[in-house]
């Protein structure tokens, strides 16, 4: 009886362990989305605050971008937004002390809302950024601006990432998404010829002794921690890139791509080598017997045959590059700029999460935005991992 029970316990323990990895993946995805999706319910103005204008103001159409431009003095007259020809007067909480003394506002600031209303009523061009707590909206002459929530298009197509700007933070992720893809794409472009060459050398040409020597070297390359690559990039590669190409700065997309290329090499080499090795001997020998040289056999027979394996290597290499954090954070300059060339600094998604997660209090729009970025990263890598699996499955069909 006891034995049966312990058998049962062990078996359920094993089952649980077996399912644990799956549960974790599900858990991670649920968590990322649970924390992230609330983002689109956030108002475009900083939480807990509203914008108020004089009730004579006719301007209706606001969005976060326009609000940012108003508060950056880029839009200075209401007529630029379709209103009267009145100069815009910016008003933040602290400005109230330009109008009233501390005593006039009351001990607990109980008269603050009333006094705010007076100021707003008096100045026609005013736009005031005030916490809800002191909302002057109930007084006459004051109008609260209705600002729409953050939309998916603000997030995915927005070009400005200013997550702590007040009153209206901007969460445009397009530059980061493109930056991440650009850096990873060029990393693979650099790594693929090199990696494929080494894989061919290892599988076709290298004598056993050299192979035995090279394989551990490649594994060592894979073993070096990313922070060490980042350090190397920061101290050696960035100044080198700056000097070689005579650039104003050394922290560029190119520097990131080069470091990522080195980091993706081991993945590409080992998977591509496996694929090349799996070519049936008969096919190789048939080609050689027909008088083809070894090289012709390689690129006419072996490479086409292992195409899917090589594609899987490329895809997994990209996956490795897209998710890399620390090395990229240290060498790419982290400017959230639409990338126009390889010599510009870029900001990638993982680097953004690493740099900003600490400062974002849980539940705020910034925190949620970072989780959404994490979710995007998760989906991209999940997609890549499934794609790689399907590509290598396809090959099995061909075998049959």
């Amino acid at each position: 009886m006891l034995k049966k029970l312990s058998n049962f316990t062990i078996k359920s323990l094993l089952t649980f362990s077996g399912a644990f990895a799956g549960i974790t993946v599900l858990f991670i995805s649920i968590f990322l989305f649970k924390e992230g999706l609330g983002f689109f319910k956030k108002p475009a103005v900083e939480e807990g605050y509203s914008l108020y204008v004089n009730s004579k103001n006719r301007v209706e159409d606001f969005n976060s971008k326009k609000i940012k431009e108003i508060f950056d003095h880029e839009i200075t007259n209401w007529n630029e937004l379709g209103g009267e020809d009145v100069e815009i007067l910016l008003f933040r909480m602290d400005n109230i002390f330009d109008y009233y003394s501390d005593e006039e506002l009351g001990e607990e600031y109980e008269f603050l809302a009333e006094k705010l209303a007076e100021v707003i009523k008096e100045k026609e061009g005013i736009i005031a950024f005030v916490p809800h707590q002191y909302s002057p909206a109930e007084y006459s002459g004051v109008k609260e601006l209705s600002v729409p929530n953050i939309t998916p298009s603000d997030f995915f197509a927005g070009r400005d990432w200013l997550p702590t700007a007040t009153p209206s933070p901007l969460f445009g992720t397009l530059p980061m998404l493109l930056g991440t893809l650009l850096v990873s794409f060029f990393a693979i472009l650099f790594a693929l010829p090199l990696g494929l060459g080494v894989a061919i050398y290892l599988s076709e040409l290298a004598p056993e002794a050299i192979r035995k020597f090279l394989k551990p070297i490649i594994e060592l390359l894979a073993g070096i921690p990313s922070i060490v690559y980042g350090f190397f990039g920061l101290v050696v590669l960035a100044p080198l890139v700056q000097k070689t190409f005579n650039l104003p700065v050394g922290e560029t997309a190119l520097t990131g791509s080069l470091i990522l290329a080195i980091m993706a090499l081991p993945t590409i080499i080992s998977i591509a080598e496996d694929a090349l090795r799996n070519t049936p001997r008969a096919m190789k020998e048939a080609s050689l017997a027909l008088g083809a040289t070894h090289w012709q056999t390689i690129y006419r027979v072996i490479i086409p045959y292992s195409k899917s394996g090589i594609s899987a290597a490329v895809v997994l290499g990209i996956g490795r590059a897209i998710g890399e954090t620390m090395a990229v954070l240290m060498v790419t300059g982290n400017a959230a700029l639409m990338p126009t060339s390889l010599f510009d600094p870029v900001r990638t998604i993982p680097a953004t999460i690493a740099a900003e997660l600490g400062e974002a209090p849980s539940g705020g729009a910034h925190y949620q935005a970072l989780f959404l970025l994490g979710a995007i990263l998760f989906i991209i890598t999940l997609f890549i991992s499934i794609a790689a699996e399907m590509i290598s499955k396809k090959k099995n069909y061909k075998d049959m």
Partner: protein, 271 residues
């Protein structure tokens, strides 16, 4: 069973909480707290102190989330941050521990030695793109900023940029050390750091806040006599309910020995 484990964990947790002090936040304050923690332990060998950087925003966010005991900040706590703490039924205490003069730094090879506030604003908002516009060589201006988590970033935005945003797509560095490194390497660079971080690898420019009438060099002396315009207090923030726990360490920093550290590191003492 699970409840039991959780309970046990809670007990261990509670016990460790008694002695451990987590300090987190501003990179600018970091040199002070690091040194202070080192010396504090000599006086109080039983204390457990851990110091983490990341930026003022990180420290205050952790204070709101309850994952740190003491937040170090190089800017004042924001209104909405204070509100969040009050909403959870706590109140926050503020202690100024030092003053810092924020220095604007450029590459030593750059011939420019003085700038007005308006010129600096122009460079960081993207209006001034070439050094020859401010009397320097024909060379691209490369502004480096700190990450948005930085209190220095926020303070700079408020004081020098007059609340305007940094130009979008500015290069941002995770820490002051990285800023120094980049400014040293980049001929056209301009950046800002706390006084303690200025060294021979970079050049601090003289700043004018009166449209070019007087230019003042950032130094401890000029910060003390209040002639340098960009001076800010450095703060500790903690929750009132944790006061007994952090008091000893805060008092240590405010003591003559602690204020000596402040001076040694390169900031201005408050007492």
């Amino acid at each position: 069973m699970r409840k039991l484990i959780l309970l046990a964990l809670a007990v261990v947790f509670g016990m460790s909480q008694l002695s451990a002090q987590k300090i987190k936040g501003s990179e600018t304050v970091l040199p002070i707290t690091q040194k202070a923690a080192e010396l504090y332990l000599k006086v109080n060998p039983k204390a457990q102190v851990s110091v983490t950087g990341g930026g003022s925003g990180v420290g205050i966010a952790a204070l709101i989330d309850g994952t740190t005991d003491l937040a170090q900040a190089s800017r004042k706590i924001k209104f909405n941050e204070r509100q969040k703490i009050q909403q959870s039924g706590n109140s926050v205490k503020e202690v100024a521990i030092a003053y810092d003069a924020l220095a604007i730094i450029i590459n030593p090879g750059n011939k420019v030695t003085k700038l007005t506030r308006e010129q600096v604003e122009g460079m960081f908002t993207g209006k001034i793109k070439n050094w020859k516009e401010v009397g320097g060589e024909d060379m691209k201006v490369v502004p480096y900023s700190r990450e948005t988590s930085s209190g220095t970033y926020e303070f700079f935005k408020e004081s020098v940029l007059k609340n305007k945003n940094h130009m979008s797509g500015i290069m941002s560095m995770p820490a002051n050390g990285a800023i120094i490194q980049s400014v040293k390497q980049t001929k056209g660079a301009i950046a800002y750091v706390g006084l303690a971080y200025v060294n021979k690898d970079v050049k601090a420019v003289h700043i004018s806040y009166d449209k070019g009438k007087t230019y003042v060099e950032p130094s401890v002396k000029n910060a003390v006599n209040k002639t340098y315009p960009i001076v800010r207090p450095l703060y500790f923030y903690y929750l009132k309910k944790n006061e007994s726990k952090v008091k000893a360490f805060v008092d240590y920093i405010l003591s003559p020995a602690g204020q000596e550290i402040v001076k040694e590191v390169g900031y201005v003492n408050v007492k």
